[in-house]
């Protein structure tokens, strides 16, 4: 009798789980499609610029990098000097894995002439996690070439991406304001000016330490990045943009980068301790980021350096 009842309950249970699962699947698909559409029609903001850089730009010069990239390089200035179109696709809070994934995606479409890859002095340090790759999730479905990198985040990423909503986790409130076309913080070429100086705001400038533990996945990504540029005949420049002050000249990252640069014969520009930018707290917003005044100076400088390099 008990076994009969047990069987009946089990069958009903499976039936209910199935119905609930189906309902979830449908809701997930509907809401996810809505989110995907909102993401696609963004008129401004970080998602718009990422998509533009990945799927639309055909600029001759591309600027890659994390936060210092999008705050330091003014495309118009570089464009004026070098007489080529420039797009800045720096993105806050990401690492070289993102850059490598982006490069793979872009090169399927077109080949830029020059790439400036901006790096930070601890760029290759060991990471606890790769959660910053979540910004690439919206492209998981379409850009299969990025999947192996996005999957580094966890073993279950492929399963999680079966959900239509998951790639858009925590984005809805950021996306809604950008549905209407209005001028955002970024210029049309991806530059993101920041204002306010450390001097005025009395910000404590911190001296960063040398992170000696390097992350093998990040090193591999940088190596792949450089190798691919070489293979596709793209002129790559590695740049360490200025810091307010830095205790040591060569971090473990810088040593490694120089080693790889030697291997692939890629020029490295190191402005970390450059006297033109060092120690001036009115051109920095914080220890590692130039404000708009600083970016004006730096963009002119880097454009000049590249121009000299191109002539030789």
């Amino acid at each position: 009798m008990q076994i009969e009842r047990n069987k009946f309950q089990s069958i009903q249970l499976f039936y209910r789980i199935f119905i609930f699962g189906l309902m979830l699947f449908i809701l997930d698909y509907l809401v996810g499609s809505g989110l995907s559409w909102i993401y696609k029609i963004q008129k401004n903001g970080v998602f718009y610029h990422t998509t533009y850089g990945l799927e639309r730009t055909v600029a001759n010069i591309l600027i890659f990098g994390s936060s210092s990239a999008n705050h330091h390089y003014i495309p118009e200035i570089i464009s004026n000097q070098l007489k080529m179109s420039v797009y800045n696709q720096g993105h806050d809070g990401i690492n070289i894995l993102y850059q490598w994934a982006l490069l793979k995606g872009i090169l399927k479409r077109y080949k830029p002439k020059i790439i400036l890859l901006n790096l930070t002095p601890n760029e290759l340090s060991l990471q606890d996690n790769y959660d910053s790759l979540s910004v690439l999730s919206p492209y998981y479905k379409k850009h299969t070439e990025m999947r192996d990198i996005i999957n580094l985040r966890s073993k279950f990423e492929p399963i999680k991406h079966l959900s239509a909503i998951y790639p858009y986790n925590s984005t809805i409130l950021t996306m809604l304001p950008n549905l209407i076309s209005k001028k955002g913080v970024r210029s049309t070429n991806g530059y993101y000016p920041i204002y306010g100086s450390a001097k005025k705001m009395k910000i404590k400038m911190r001296n960063f330490k040398n992170n000696t533990n390097l992350d093998p996945f990040l090193i591999e990504a940088l190596d792949n990045f450089m190798k691919k540029c070489k293979q596709d005949d793209i002129a790559l420049y590695l740049v360490f943009s200025p810091w307010f002050s830095f205790e040591i000249f060569e971090t473990a990252t810088i040593i490694k980068v120089n080693e790889l640069a030697l291997k692939y014969k890629v020029p490295v520009y190191n402005f970390i301790k450059d006297p033109e930018f060092n120690g001036q707290d009115d051109i920095y917003q914080d220890s590692g980021h130039l404000n708009h005044s600083g970016a004006l100076m730096f963009s002119k400088r880097i454009a000049k350096e590249i121009s000299i390099s191109l002539r030789n």
């Binding site: 008990q2 009842r5 047990n6 309950q9 089990s10 009903q12 249970l13 209910r16 119905i19 609930f20 309902m23 979830l24 809701l27 997930d28 809401v31 989110l35 996690n129 959660d131 979540s134 966890s154 073993k155 279950f156 399963i159 999680k160 959900s163 909503i165 998951y166 858009y168 986790n169 925590s170 809805i172 409130l173 950021t174 404590k204």
Partner: protein, 475 residues
Amino acid sequence: MQFNSFYFLLFFTAIILFYYLIPNKNYQRTFLIATSLFFVFQANYLSLLVICLIAILNYFFGIGIETKKNNFAGKFIFYLAILINISNLFFFKYYDFFLENLSGFLGLFNFKNPPQVLKLILPIGISFYTFQILGYLIDIWQENLKPEKDILVFLNYVFFFPKLLAGPIERAQNFFPQAKESKYILLSNFSAGGKLLIWGFFQKLVIADRIAIYVDSVYHNFDQHSGITLLVCSVLYVFQVYADFSGYTDIARGLAKILGYDLMINFRRPLLAFSITDFWRRWHISLSSWVNDYIYMPLSLKFRAIGKAGVFIALFVSFIIVGIWHGAKWTFVVFGVLQGIFLVVELMTLRKKKKLATKIPAWILNGAGLLMTFILITVSLIFFRSPSLKIALSVFAKININGKLFLGTASFFLYSLIGILILMMHDICLEIFKKDIFKFKSDYFILRGFPYAMLVIIILMIGVFDGGQFIYFNF
């Protein structure tokens, strides 16, 4: 293995399948014990060794106390058992704290050679199962309970993995009868369990982990934040702890329910309490009722001859224990002392309140009580969150309504507020209207399941998926 990980999801699905394969109680209990031990084994070997030793020792202690109850041997076994359990907890959790403070004290007298601290790993769940076992032993000693002779039942009582890591602190009287039955697949168990799981994950992933991002970033450089930021941060932290712990408890209860076990309720809408006294009947109920039954009651009875003073002493001691149970830090002691002070003051002003109740309308009195209680809890929890006493006092001193509010990432701030809104709507409806807002009355399963499906959708949309430790895991 954490509950909010994919690994666990797969792990638990496998457990359910094997568990209900053979609805025989001995098989199921053994399987549960093995699963729970695997859980502990995953953490570290020390935890496994300690919990097994403790469980087996206490199994025999319990029987010993009962069989020898009529002579001195019984008394001896009882006190020995209590000593061993408390020493075990003290050794792993409080030894270093004790030593450091002792050294500091002796250092005042130029005592130069401080003994070495041990920096031991805290065996997982030790604070929870130690208290559980102490309660078990005391109940036997006071002849409120017969010791459990079936070792499978007893071991399950100690090891049961849903409650192992962060409670609830189960009572033997509640658990044993349930552990003696064979469990069959019951739709009602899966339904109720599933609902608890979804609501628990919602509280954890959408509310607690989201607020944590903000609170952590403020505490990271608290001295650079404005007074109003610290105020808002402290208020948000109250919701974080509540959602985190209540969420965890609901997940534990959901898992247990699916396995056919009812674990005790740990939270009963604590943020709607009208007084601190009321608050502690609604917050971490398994702990507060444990301390009430095994520490406060005996103490207050012991001091009954000295009237109200006896009650005050009993309250203070009880809540210092509640405080320090949370961790070996002075901040937790202060937390406990504060509760003691608040409760004593409330007790002393009880008569005045009764007089006021005749003059002032109930809603004003209750509203004031609600607000006051929330403020006192916000202050108490500053000590809970701060890594040190010095920081706690700095934060407390800096709080005011001046300055610019730090929003962090504005959208993250808003997601927190959405989560809090849903949580408080749920609690208020349940408290005042006695209605669960997620319970749709319908004959159709699809309609009944819809609100829970929406909760899952919201979790997918704004839940935090990057790890996020449960706060109560270090106990």
